[in-house]
Amino acid sequence: MSAAPFLSVRGLGVHYRDGRRRVAALHDVDFDLALGGRLALVGESGSGKSTLALAIAGLLPENASITGTISFPSLGAAPRPGRDLGVVFQDPGGSLNPVLSIGDQIAEIVVVHRGVSWRAARSIAAELLDRVRIPQAQARLHGFPHEFSGGQRQRIAMAAALAGEPRLLIADEPTSALDTVVQRELVLLLDELVRERGLTLLFVTHDIALASELADEVAVLLGGRMVEHGPIGSVFAAPAHAYTRALLETRLDLDTPLSARLLESDGQTFTVRRPSEMSNG
């Protein structure tokens, strides 16, 4: 192994304050991510995977409190949003300002982080849009978000995430809100972009198949804890934790509703229900 990891998380815990209650979303998470590594965070909804990604991105809501540490040894200081890390969110419709043109929004990021003139920034924006395969990028600079489809908006969001030339790209379920055909295009694009820019990638997904496509490493979250973490080949070939084993056995898409699942758990052991054992209805 080479030098210090790019990202180092130790003893991370996250609580949300909801009125008088405290809800724990993450317990005692430890892991490292090397420069250039690609880590998939896998789990069901409520497992804490999004919380972990947002915590690393520094985007947790105000009612959240953090214990433990998140450090970036090679940066020497706290990561600058947009400049050191870029984020792509799940909802393509929501991540763009509806009243500004996409050209303005991306150029703005370039101006803020690279200190160039607006003119230069606009042509960089056109290049970026072209790279994410928005057709007629130069003309579409004047377009507004509502004029684009969901898939296009997600690609624009990727361009925005990369406009500041960050080292780490965090993607929170980037394809979940899109239909399967569009999903494939996006995954391929993501793969290309990460490879050609040598990015470190951290992405959250409920789709195991997607994880195995894009990632080198995988971390499995259950109930706010990281129950398994390792290179994707070895984890999938020989999972150490019962939960992971059960997941792989059923080749589950973790987004399916509880009642339809073939998996039962009492918290400690996980058993797979054979189809013949399942009741009707």
Partner: protein, 329 residues
């Protein structure tokens, strides 16, 4: 641009039935008032014998049935004839046209004050919802919005005109001062300061709260979080992303609240003796000049419709989503 023009056309067409209904309402009120135009005319000119009276009635079309009278009334309105003012013994339209500029200046300045300063303070408060400055501004604006405009006017008069003697008590300009050009401009300005303040400050509080509430809502939006994730610095974030979106509902309110401010200007003009359309309405009431009062009502409706049209256009310019049929494939 084309979007705006189509919107303009549609609103103009939609305004016609509304104006028609207002005309019907005005006509009904006219009918309900005791006596008719002939009676008023005769009261001013000293009466006449019954033959002359029926002659006049026939001349003015007042002897026919209600439907015909309404049609004659509507036709006159379409020609721009708003009737005859019994108090001023001149056509209503003439009287109103003379007084209109003063009111428009008063309303324009008050709106600029209320919307301009109110929105800015609202952005200031809404930049950090829940902060001390936010709560202080919100509470203060709540109290200010509770003030009657005419009372605020009197309070300001007591402070600035009576005690401090900085500003005049009323009127639009110093009478028979013979000033012209810049001097006259400044004189009118001094006279308008307190009335504009009385009318504007109350609505300033309203726009402050509207902007502040709107910003508090926009802060929760996904794209704001995304902009923060992209490293947009705070000041840019507040202005270009949050405030720019928060502005939209406030602009809508501008049109809706204009009628209310126009009503408020009536009393303010009364308190400060500004020779505008509002005070004209008061004079019409005290002199029982119903045609004049209704003329003011109709003109007010036209002004409100015009202002609503302008704010609709402004909104269409500010929000690119207006007039779109949907996303591309």
């Amino acid at each position: 641009m084309r979007r705006a023009l189509i919107l303009l056309l549609r609103r103009l067409i939609g305004a016609v039935p509304v104006l028609l209904i207002v005309a019907v309402g005005a006509f009904l009120l006219l009918e309900a008032a005791p006596g008719d135009a002939v009676d008023a005319y005769l009261a001013a000119t000293g009466g006449a014998d019954s033959e002359r009276v029926s002659e006049l009635r026939a001349e003015w079309g007042l002897d026919r049935g209600p439907l015909q009278r309404f049609l004659a009334y509507a036709a006159a309105l379409a020609r721009g004839d708003l009737g005859w003012s019994t108090a001023f013994q001149r056509p209503v339209l003439d009287v109103i046209s003379e007084r209109l500029p003063s009111t428009l200046i008063l309303m324009g300045l008050a709106t600029a004050l209320a919307f301009g300063v109110g929105s800015l303070l609202g952005i200031f408060a809404g930049a950090r919802p829940g902060s001390l400055r936010d709560r202080a501004l919100s509470l203060t604006s709540l109290a200010v919005y509770a003030m009657p405009g005419f009372w605020l006017g009197l309070v300001l008069i007591v402070i600035f005109a009576v005690d401090l003697r900085w500003l005049p008590i009323g009127g639009l300009e110093t009478i028979a001062s013979g000033k012209s050009g810049l001097d006259r401009f400044l004189d009118i300005g001094r006279h308008l300061l307190l009335p504009v303040a009385s009318l504007g400050i109350v609505y300033l509080a309203l726009y402050l709260r509207l902007m502040r509430d709107s910003m508090a809502e926009i802060w929760k939006e996904d794209f704001v979080r995304a902009a923060r994730a992209r490293g947009i610095p705070r000041r840019r974030l507040i202005l270009r992303h949050v405030a720019r979106n928060a502005l939209l509902p406030v602009v809508t309110m501008l049109g809706l609240q204009f009628g209310s401010m126009l009503g408020g200007s009536i009393v303010v003009e009364g308190v400060f003796a500004i020779p505008g359309v509002g005070r004209l309405a008061l004079e019409a009431v005290s002199q029982r000049d119903i045609p004049l009062l209704l003329g003011v009502m109709l003109i007010s409706a036209v002004i409100v419709i015009a202002v609503n049209l302008l704010t609709d256009i402004a909104y269409a310019v500010l929000d690119p989503r207006v007039g779109s049929s949907g996303t591309a494939a």
